[in-house]
């Protein structure tokens, strides 16, 4: 038995496949066709049923043979995803007719995918580029499986479109309404978010420098700033809409208020981060307040400042979108979400959310990249 190394995922996948085969038809039309052989029914998986089960069992069996882990991972990857693809593409046209074997097979494929991820995460490649690739592939497979299960379950069980549209429908909607989404992004992100983010973070930064210069101000502002960060600042949105009107200026104002305090608190904390020794060294150089600030204390504060910029990138998007719930011109991401929800166009809402998620990640990623470039000296960047 030296050539065999069982894994519970693979064994369970095989068991699930066997139960599924024993239960019979994976969909209602096929069950009907089996019950009444004389009538001719069109049913899903006419030719692919055997292929799917065979592939799943075969992949599970091969994975338990003692082969190199990488080969095992590749076999599992191909097996799990081909089965899932056959399963999802086969149900097209027969949505909502799936029976228990359909879900069992889906679970089996998912177990194979899990085994694949488990094998991959136990790999310890020596090459650093392979390590980076692995660090990207593992979460990618996980994310893909969330989408696969979402798609397969919504289509197989025929979940009402209003409740939860399948990802493919959302993707289709994104592709079909690019101009609308583009206009919303332009209104919300390029006008309100960017302006508010720059002004709010800038104002927080300048206030922090001021507070650093005047200790009295610092002692007074810091407790207030810390407390304000726990308050539901988003509530000022209706007031800002009253003051600055429906257009992007009111959203920018909300974003400014939301981003101001995290920047203030973090910058003040960062300015205290440089060590005594270094400050003493600057003093022996007869360096004044401003040269010390620019050459020593601001670089030392950079990780804190970038932390605030990262927090603010999310807060800014949230602020702008929620502020639009209180009144907007007929364009903008928050406006689109609230009106399309009212019209039960849930796929459009999901499309808008996907765009917002993408924009948020890109925003965050840009800030993180700038951070790596600016704080190249910091241990957390150098070490990675």
């Amino acid at each position: 038995m030296n050539w065999l190394k069982p894994s519970w995922q693979a064994v369970l996948a095989i068991v699930l496949c066997l139960i599924a085969i024993a239960l019979g038809a994976p969909s209602k039309p096929e069950a009907a066709a089996l019950a009444d052989p004389t009538a001719s029914f069109n049913y899903p998986y006419l030719g692919t049923k055997g292929l799917m089960f065979g592939l799943a069992v075969l992949a599970a069996l091969i994975s338990m043979v003692r082969i190199p882990p990488l080969a095992e991972a590749v076999v599992l990857f191909i097996g799990a995803h081909v089965v899932a693809w056959l399963l999802i593409s086969g149900i097209a046209g027969f949505e909502g007719t799936a029976l228990a074997p359909y879900f069992l097979l889906l679970a089996a494929a998912w177990l194979l995918g899990w085994r694949c991820v488990a094998v991959l995460s136990s790999l310890r490649p020596l090459d650093s580029s392979a390590r980076t690739a692995l660090r990207l592939i593992i979460p990618a497979i996980f994310g893909a499986w969330i989408l696969i299960i979402w798609e397969a379950v919504t289509r197989g069980a025929g979940i009402p479109f209003i409740l939860l549209p399948p990802p493919s429908a959302i993707g289709l909607r994104i592709a079909n309404s690019l101009p609308v989404l583009g206009a919303d992004v332009r209104q919300t992100i390029f006008k309100a978010v960017l302006f508010g983010y720059v002004v709010g973070s800038g104002a927080g930064f300048i206030t922090a420098i001021l507070a650093d210069r005047v200790p009295f101000l610092r002692r007074g502002l810091l407790p207030i700033g810390n407390m304000v960060s726990a308050l539901p600042i988003i509530g000022v949105a209706p007031i800002m809409v009253m003051w600055f009107g429906f257009d992007w200026q009111s959203k920018a104002a909300v974003v400014i208020i939301m981003t101001f305090f995290p920047m203030l608190v973090n910058t003040v904390a960062g300015l205290a981060a440089s060590g005594h020794m270094e400050r003493d060294l600057m003093r022996t150089y007869a360096s004044g307040y401003w040269p010390t600030l620019i050459k020593l204390r601001l670089p030392a504060a950079a990780p804190f400042i970038f932390n605030a910029l990262k927090i603010n990138s999310t807060l800014a998007l949230i602020g702008a979108i929620v502020a639009e719930f209180f009144g907007t011109p007929v364009v903008g991401m928050g406006f689109r979400i609230s009106t399309e929800v009212g019209r039960m166009n849930i796929d459009m809402v999901w499309a808008e959310i996907a765009v917002a998620a993408l924009a948020g990640s890109v925003f965050y990623g840009v800030v993180a990249l700038v951070e790596r470039a600016v704080t190249f000296w910091h241990p957390s960047v150098r070490g990675g």
Partner: protein, 292 residues
Amino acid sequence: MDTFRDKLVPVTSILLGVVILWYVFAVILNTPFQRDLDRRANETSTFSELIGKTLSQPKPTLPAPHQVAVNFFENTFLRPINSNRSLVYNAWVTLSSTLLGFAFGTALGIIIAVGIVHVATLDRSLMPWIIASQTIPILAVAPMIIVVLGAVGISGLIPKAMISTYLSFFPVTVGMVKGLRSPEIMHLDLMHTYNASGSQTFWKLRVPASVPFLFTSMKVAVAASLVGAIVGELPTGAVAGIGAKLLAGAYYSQSIDIWSALVAGSIVAALLVMVVGIAGRIVDRAMGGRPA
């Protein structure tokens, strides 16, 4: 004496400055509308009369602090608690879904964190998504959850609590993962020499070490949870709650109502954070923690 000089004096003087600035801006912002009113009524008011009028408009652009205070006092203490204009009632509506969501979110966050710490596959596959999901404006999903769940007949407390759960479990997960991993190698080795089992190491070393992290992240989570509950009240058409008060105030331009609802929300937030902080200190002391 030191806390008095270093903290109380600066904080109160800055708050005082804020209040004075508030009055100045209230006069400045309300003047144009008051001038307009005076012109229509064919009145000419002196400067001091003008100031008095700008500070007592029924629907001012910026209400003066005392107007907000009076409105807040009336709606909090003078109204029957079950009236839907009472701020206590509305705050309670928001607070109940906040607490429910916060409890679920904390439990979910702890469970996910335990999974991530103990299952390597979850760590490598789920953790990047948890971090990435923090960059996503989750709050944008709120109206959809409310309306969609309402369409299938689930309304009231649960959908709002779900939004709070969603917002509050991220900080708890991230904090707990950090906390459960905080024991040093030396301590883990010590447990190893004691021949401690996995569950013993978990309960006797990892859990106690993670408690400070848990309470720090719970403070963030409870604030996020309240924001979630308030935003969750917006799309339901302003039934009850602090968010509903904000929305109703926005519809009818009742600026004083908006401000007093904001004050109520802020007080609830401050109280929640304070309660979590005190609970953390009590637990810390009960576990034999010494002040550092």
